[in-house]
Amino acid sequence: MSLPGLEPGHTGNTLSLDSDSINDPINGPINIYNGDVKLANKDEPQYLTLSIGMQWSLELGKQDLVGQHVKIYITVLSGICEVLGTELANDVEYCFQDWNFSVLAIEDSRIKWRLVNLMIPLDDPFINNVTPNDNAKYVYNLHFAIEKLRCSSFTGPKVLILGNKNTGKTSLSRILSSYSIKNKAYQPMFINLDPEQPIVSPPGCIMATPISDLIDLQSPFWNESLTSGATKLHSRQPLIKNFGFEKIEDNFDWYVDTVRQMLDTVDRRLYNDPLVQRSGCIIDTPSCFYESYESFESVLNMIISKMKIDIIVILSANTNNDISTTINAEPINKIIDKNKCSVIKLPKLTGVIPNDDAYKRLLQRLAIRDYFYGDLNTVITPYVTSCDFTDLIIWELPVNNRSDTFNGSANVGDASIPSNNQNNGNNNNTENDMSADTVKSLTLQPVEVNQPNLQHAIITIYHCPKRTEPKQILQSSVMGFALITEVNEKRQRCKLLLPVPGSLPKNALVLTSYRYLE
């Protein structure tokens, strides 16, 4: 390092970060972060300097004053920045829309950004939200500890992430997944168990996919699933299991069964795919796993034993430092074998933007649109077809809200019946031991084809013929989804939107509780 004046520390001083603004000889005046970002002119490109460890949170899930969705274009001019673990290329303009995320500066970075159609007050906090990310270091610690485990064994670390609402569980999963493919070409299996949040899939599904290449940092849904043409980034080949309800408690038994099926399949994939096996698993869970822990004890037990979970990460609801002392009081300790499984408690991630229902709905709607029409970078064309009512045989599962499972621990035993059997490995006996209630929850009922039932509905297409036994349908795999755009009762015909050109496959169809109005 013989060049005088170029040690990082020195230049850091030269670009003193406490002055209001300095003139960059090449790029003109720049705004330096000193508590707030000044907006000179809303259409002009703005410059922002993020010093190391700072995080710029952007809340684009909101609408502006005239109901437009805010679009922001971000270019990293120098330094290193990442969005949820995925690094931004320098001098490439990225467009973001409709989701809440944050840009973390790994090094002092200069960012150029501009907003399109901005109709929000210039002092709106959504563009001014730059805070130091204090907890990023814990995530790094965790990542490298996991990475160390990957190096040392052929069965990679299986991480289960639990935590309260809005603590950053999905963000943590995404960051860990992104980091794990950076150093070596690992392909960790990511599993999303929250049907309310769409990842690589439309909403209402749980999903598993190996993270084998970059996660699309512009997408709230991580990646596209495979298309027939070229996509900017490699797309995923996911395993999708359809749950179809909006809330887990709408049909708890079916949820448990879906998870069980999924984990079985994943387990077989891991067996077949040594690279994925070695890279381990990262499992994201809905917050109710942790919050209504008693009701989900059986599910948790099933996951832990089936996936051979060895790390449980609990994201604490608060950011204070007495985490280490409260860890022993975690209820989760009751059900795990401390010898096989280490429990790590982390403070809530910095800069988590609380999700409200409106934002959740927005993402779900976007995910459906994304499935049929593609995203900002990839335009895909769906196919409109129509069919007679007589051709349609549509099934649905009953809503079976067993309030008891959520209001007390009295009936935990009942709920855990299927999974307990799974634990013993007696797959064949499951049906015999089911309680009447469970049987009812898992019985498909035919849906009457009419407008109120089907208009704008998303239906799941299974990989099994139309006339398959209802019980068999639920065991088979998901082929895709279709959207019923129009139900014409007079002409007894339906219009459908299919993702793939062709007529409606003569396969089993199951109605979901999701509706989408184009």
Partner: protein, 678 residues
């Protein structure tokens, strides 16, 4: 405006637009039209005025000629209409055209002052012409003044100035010698003598009136001496500039203060320069002339000016707040260091005027130096430390200066062109730093990374991770893909992966943009259509298939795999079904296999003449466009048709369809077959 008028006006407009050069016929035509259609005068005037106003400056004169011709030949009512806006147009035109055109405009105006034969009166009314005349008088006065200021200044003051300069140079040398403790050397004494001579010369010049010849001789001699001293000084500067900036500044300080003391005798001239430092070199002349007449007054002047200058510098330092001062001061540093370079005169052609300006600059510098001194006395200056980027910049900058450029602005420009940006330099350093660390760390030997609650939350672990391990996922792999940000390392394997990755981006981008599709059918008609990247989502694969799926099938960017993993299993199946039914399909398959061994391409596909008897097969012939081709197309020398390349999705290459390569030349496969049979 009725139809007929409209037509005439349109024609007038049309003809006028042709007037892009000085053309007599066009002007005559326009004049004739104006004469014949007096009823349209209003419109003509409007159009012509518009033309003068809107057309490019170089053509304005011709439009004025047209106006002139119309007014002189057709007369009223055109003169009346035109005189309304004439001044405005004339002034506007005059101000934006060059001097040549201005002269022509003036002679045009002069012609307007002449009474016409018809009326015995000038073309336009008197008030209009008067306004224009006033304007022209003012304008040319201004013009004259500019010229005068460029003229060489009177000789005596010039000589004075040169004497001053020489004195300054000599003083500098004296100071130099003093610095080096050479006070007793011969040079030193010589210089002192020289100073004395100069002093006397000055007195003589001031008191006596010398003849022009004598003055000239003095001038010549002075110049000779001057050239010698300059040479010496240039050398000195070269040495000086290689020193650190602050040293330079200190040197300048000393130098400056010294010159102030020893310059006392002559300083009235310098100070008067300060008074007139605002570049207006002329203002110094009358001032000097006064001094020549009475030394007493000049002494008074001197004292006053000195006082003024010192006063102004102190008020400066109190004017600025302490915060803004530091920034001004650092910019001052630049000013001074660059200014010092100005004292280096151009040795051979010492143009009088530039010398003069230089002296003005020097005195300005003195002022700056004063300010700088007082600022540094108050500890208000930020002097960059030895290791700062400012010092580095200055060093590089001064090296440039020796090379002969003389303006700091152009230096900065050159510098920023030659040097990579700070961020690039930082990038390199950080990458290097990270590489050094990454080479020496091992995840296995990190006990702190044992997965326990204490370790994860301990600051100690954080420190180790943030200092070392973090580089594993960032700069430890220094080659960042400029498209997607994915990082690659420096090992041969990683480099190869990056190559494949970049190729993949390239192919994908080409497909995303859509390809120009060129199809040759039997009639040899060529059409180009754009093949867009139209795609739809795939069905999910059945669970059983997923269990056996390997993600390498999607993410592999290896070329020979790519045709198989076109990210579409359905497509793959389709290819299999259609492909193997036809001969062509087989050929394609074969060529695909050949892709992995490029050296075979020429042999196997292109000169496969033995299979050419299958005419259906002919169209399946293709040649992969060689990378050396510039324009992706060739001309079939048999049918003279141009063949452009198309992109083949299956093999991921640009190809010429229906093409065969024989002896390094390309032909349509069909054409070649036909001619061969004959």
């Amino acid at each position: 405006m009725d139809g007929e008028t409209e037509a005439v006006v349109k024609q007038f407009d049309f003809v006028l637009k042709e007037l892009t050069f000085n053309s007599r016929p066009i002007i005559t035509t326009l004049t004739k039209m104006a004469e014949e259609n007096i009823s349209c005068a209003k419109y003509f005037v409007e159009i012509l005025e518009n033309r003068i106003d809107k057309c490019v400056p170089s053509q304005k004169l011709f439009a004025f000629y047209a106006l002139d011709s119309i007014c002189k030949n057709a007369g009223s009512p055109y003169t009346i209409f035109f005189s309304k806006n004439l001044f405005k147009l004339y002034k506007k035109t005059y101000l934006i055209v060059n001097n040549q055109v201005r002269t022509k405009l003036i002679s045009l105006f002069k012609s307007w002052l002449q009474p016409t034969k018809a009326t015995g009166e000038p073309v336009f009314d008197k008030t209009t012409l008067n306004v224009i005349e006033n304007f022209l008088v003012k304008a040319s006065a201004l013009h004259q003044k500019n010229l005068e200021s460029m003229l060489p200044t009177p000789t005596i003051p010039l000589l004075f100035k040169e004497i001053d300069k020489l004195t300054a140079l000599s003083n500098e040398r004296i100071k130099d010698l003093k610095d080096n403790n050479n006070v007793n050397s011969e040079d030193y004494n010589k210089l002192l003598a020289k100073l004395e001579v100069l002093k006397q010369l000055r007195l003589v010049l001031a008191k006596e009136k010398l003849s022009g010849n004598a003055l000239k001789q003095v001038q010549l001699q002075l110049k000779q001496v001057f050239a010698q001293d300059q040479q010496y000084l240039q050398e000195k500067h070269r040495i000086q500039q290689q020193q650190q900036l602050h040293q330079q500044q200190q040197g300048a300080e000393r130098e400056q203060s010294q010159s102030f003391i020893s310059n006392e005798n002559y300083s009235f001239n310098t100070t008067s320069n300060i008074a007139g430092a605002s570049h207006s070199g002329t203002s110094i002349i009358p001032l000097f002339n006064n001094n020549k007449n009475s030394d007493r007054i000049s002494n008074l002047n001197k004292d006053l000016n000195l006082q003024n200058s010192s006063e102004s510098s102190t008020t400066f330092s109190t004017l600025f707040g302490p915060n803004s001062l530091s920034t001004t001061a650092s910019s001052l540093n630049y000013g001074i260091s660059s200014g010092l370079n100005f004292t280096q005169p151009n040795s051979n052609n010492t143009n009088n005027v530039t010398d003069f300006l230089e002296l003005g600059k020097q005195s300005k510098l003195n002022k700056l130096q004063n300010l700088y001194d007082s600022l540094s006395k108050e500890n208000l200056l930020y002097i960059p430390s030895k290791n700062s980027i400012v010092t580095l910049f200055d060093k590089l900058n001064s090296i440039r200066n020796v090379d002969g450029s003389d303006s700091i602005n152009s230096d900065i420009e050159k510098l920023s062109q030659k040097l990579p940006s700070i961020s690039t330099l930082l990038n390199i350093l950080n990458d290097f730093h990270a590489l050094m660390i990454v080479n020496n760390i091992n995840l296995d030997n990190a006990p702190k990374l044992q997965l326990t609650q204490e370790n994860i939350l301990s600051n100690e672990t954080s420190k180790i991770v943030m200092d070392n391990f973090i580089h594993l996922i960032y700069r430890g792999k220094p080659n960042k893909c400029s498209t997607c940000g994915k990082r690659y390392g420096n090992t041969p394997h990683e480099k190869m992966l990056q190559c494949y990755h970049l190729d993949w981006h390239f192919r994908i981008n080409r497909r995303l943009k859509g390809t120009s599709y060129n199809a040759d059918d039997n009639n040899s008609t060529t059409f180009v259509a754009t093949q867009r990247n139209i795609q739809s989502r795939n069905w999910y694969i059945p669970d059983l298939q997923w269990v056996g799926f390997k993600d390498d099938e999607i993410v592999s960017t290896r070329f020979n795999n790519d045709s198989k993993s076109t990210t579409d299993i359905g497509e793959e199946n389709r290819k299999r079904n259609f492909g193997e039914d036809t001969v062509g399909g087989k050929r394609k398959k074969r060529s695909e296999e050949n892709m992995s061994s490029p050296q075979k391409i020429g042999g196997n596909i292109n000169s496969a003449e033995d299979t050419m008897d299958l005419s259906a097969d002919l169209h399946e012939h293709y040649v992969i466009v060689p990378e050396t081709m510039v324009d992706n197309s060739y001309k079939c020398s048999i049918c003279q048709e141009k063949v452009t390349s198309i992109y083949d999705d299956d093999i991921g290459e640009w190809i010429w369809k229906n093409t065969i390569q024989v002896d390094g030349k390309y032909y349509h496969a069909t054409c070649y077959k036909e001619t061969k049979n004959i």
